[in-house]
C-alpha cells in the first residue's frame, strides 16, 4: 500500500509547517490591512504590502463545505469513505483539511459546526486536521 502524501515545505511556507510541528496553527497577517491570509506568501494578496507577520491563531474554525470521497487516494484505503473538508478559520482564511473525532457521514458533518485544530504526524511533517470543538483530546 502506498504511503499518504507528505507535504514538502518551500522557503515561504516553512514557518507554517514549523508551527504545525510545534502544535500551533500559524498563518500570516498583513500589518496594513490587519487581515490574516492563507496560503503562505511573502506579501499580502490584498494590498501587495510586504509588511506581513506570522502569527499563531486560535485554531477555531467552522465547517465550510466538504465532499465524502468513496474513491480513496493511495494510502487512504483504510479511511474510505472519508471527508475532504474546507474549514473557515475564525480569523478569516479557509483551508482544506480532514475532520477527525467524528463519523465522516452527512448526518454528523453539519455545515458551520464548530471545530478546533489538532495535529497528525505525517512522515517528517505534522498535518493540521480538525475535530469537533470541545471533543476530548
Amino acid at each position: 500500500m502506498a504511503d499518504k502524501p507528505i507535504p514538502k515545505p518551500t522557503p515561504e511556507t516553512q514557518p507554517y509547517w514549523d508551527g504545525a510541528r510545534a502544535g500551533e496553527l500559524r498563518v500570516q497577517r498583513c500589518i496594513a490591512c490587519a487581515e490574516h491570509y492563507f496560503y503562505p506568501r511573502p506579501f499580502c494578496p490584498r494590498c501587495g504590502s510586504a509588511d506581513v507577520e506570522w502569527v499563531a491563531i486560535s485554531g477555531r474554525a467552522r465547517l465550510h463545505s466538504y465532499v465524502i470521497s468513496h474513491r480513496p487516494a493511495p494510502g487512504f484505503e483504510a479511511d474510505a469513505p472519508y471527508a475532504i473538508a474546507v474549514v473557515a478559520l475564525e480569523e478569516g482564511p479557509r483551508l482544506m483539511t480532514n475532520i477527525v473525532g467524528v463519523d465522516n457521514t452527512p448526518e454528523h458533518l453539519v455545515l458551520d459546526m464548530e471545530l478546533e485544530v489538532t495535529f497528525q504526524e505525517r512522515g517528517e511533517q505534522c498535518l493540521p486536521v480538525f475535530r469537533p470543538a470541545g471533543a476530548r483530546r
Binding site: 499518504k4 502524501p5 507528505i6 507535504p7 514538502k8 515545505p9 518551500t10 511556507t13 492563507f38 496560503y39 465550510h64 463545505s65 466538504y66 465532499v67 465524502i68 470521497s69 468513496h70 474513491r71 480513496p72 487516494a73 494510502g75 487512504f76 479511511d79 469513505p81 472519508y82 475532504i84 473538508a85 474546507v86 479557509r94 483551508l95 482544506m96 483539511t97 480532514n98 452527512p106 455545515l111 458551520d112 505525517r122 511533517q125 498535518l127
Partner: protein, 384 residues
Amino acid sequence: MSVRGKVAIVGAAETDHLGVIPDQSALQLHAEAALNAIRDCGIDRRDIDGFAAAGQSPIAVAHYLGLTPRYLDGTSIGGCSFLVHVRHAAAAITAGLCEVVLITHGESGRSRVGAPSWPRDQASIQGQFEAPYGIMGPPTLFPIGVLRYMKTYGLTHEQLASVAVAQRKWASRNPRAYKRELVTVDDVLASPIIAYPMHLLECCLVTDGGGALILTSAARAAAMDLPRPPVYVLGTGESAESQTISMMEDFTTSRAFRVASASAFEEAGITHSDVDHLMVYDAFAHLPIYGLEDLGFVERGEAGAFVAEGNTEPGGRLPMNTNGGGLSYTHTGMYGMFAIQESVRQLRGTAPAQVPDAKISVAQGVGGMFMSAGTLVLGTAETV
C-alpha cells in the same frame, strides 16, 4: 480592439470515433481531427500557418502534420484552453500575425495511449495544502463547494440530479453520444456515490477522442467556397482564479466564469435574450448550475429550479448542452473542444439534436477545478 465579426470558424470536426479508442495515441487523435477539419472546409493544408493545442504541444502537432508554423499558441489552462485558443487566434489573425489557425484537441483520456502523465509535486501549493488530505482527482475537488451552495440557496439533491436527466434527453437524440438511455432523477440518485453529494451519473464520462477547428479572417472566409456556412466570432473572454479550489473566494460562484463571460457578452454587444443556444462545460452536474447564474441567465439560487422545470431540455426556452455534454456525450479530460464543436454544429444547422433557427450560441468553458475560464459568443452571418 474588438475582434467582433472579423474572424470565422470555417472548419470544425471531431475524430472519426469517440469513446473507447485503444488503437490511437493522443497525438494521432489531434492529427485525425485536424485532417477532418481540413476536409470539412476544403482548405489547402499548406495554407495553415498558425497552430494552437493543449495537452500535446502545438509544435508536435505541426510537425506531425508536416507543416511550418508562423504562429504558435500552447496556452494550456485546462479544459477551456481551446476556447481561449479561439480568442487568441482571432486576435492574432486580426493583427495580421497569421492567416489560418488550426486548433486541435486529442486525448486518450480513457485508454491512456501516448497520454502525458502529471506527476504531483509535493512542494506545490496543491501538494502542500490539498494532497495530504486524500484528494483523488476532480471528483474529490470540483464538487467541494456544492454543499455550501446547497445550504446557501436551498438547492436540492433532486434538482442537482435533474441536470443529468436533462442532458441525457439531449444525448438520446444524438447517435454519437456515449450514453443515450434516458434516466430519471431516481436513477441518478440511486447510482453509486462517488464523492458525496455527487453520484456517478452526476460525474462526467472518461473517454478518448479529439476535435479540431480552423479559423481565418471573415474576408478570407467569404472568398472561400465553403460547403458549410462560416461561424463568426462575436465575443470572447478569459480569466482565472486559483489553481487550488480550496482557495476560491466564494464557493457558490466562479469569479473566472463571471469575468470571462462579461467580457465576451460586452464584446459581442448582446444581452441574454439574444442567446439561442448555450453550452456550459459540465465536468460535474453542478457546473451548469453555477454557469447559468455566473453568466447571468438566471438570478442567484435560481438555476436548480430552472433546470428542474425543464427550461434547458429539448423544447425548453434555453437549450443547453445539446450534445449531451460531458455527462452523456463525451469527456476526454479537456472537454472544451467538444462544447465549441456543438456550438458550431448548431449555428451551421447540422446538429443531431438541432435547435430550430439558432443564430447566437454561447460556449462557456472551465479549466481545472474552477481554476480558469474561457467564453465564446459565436454567431451566424446575419448576426455580424
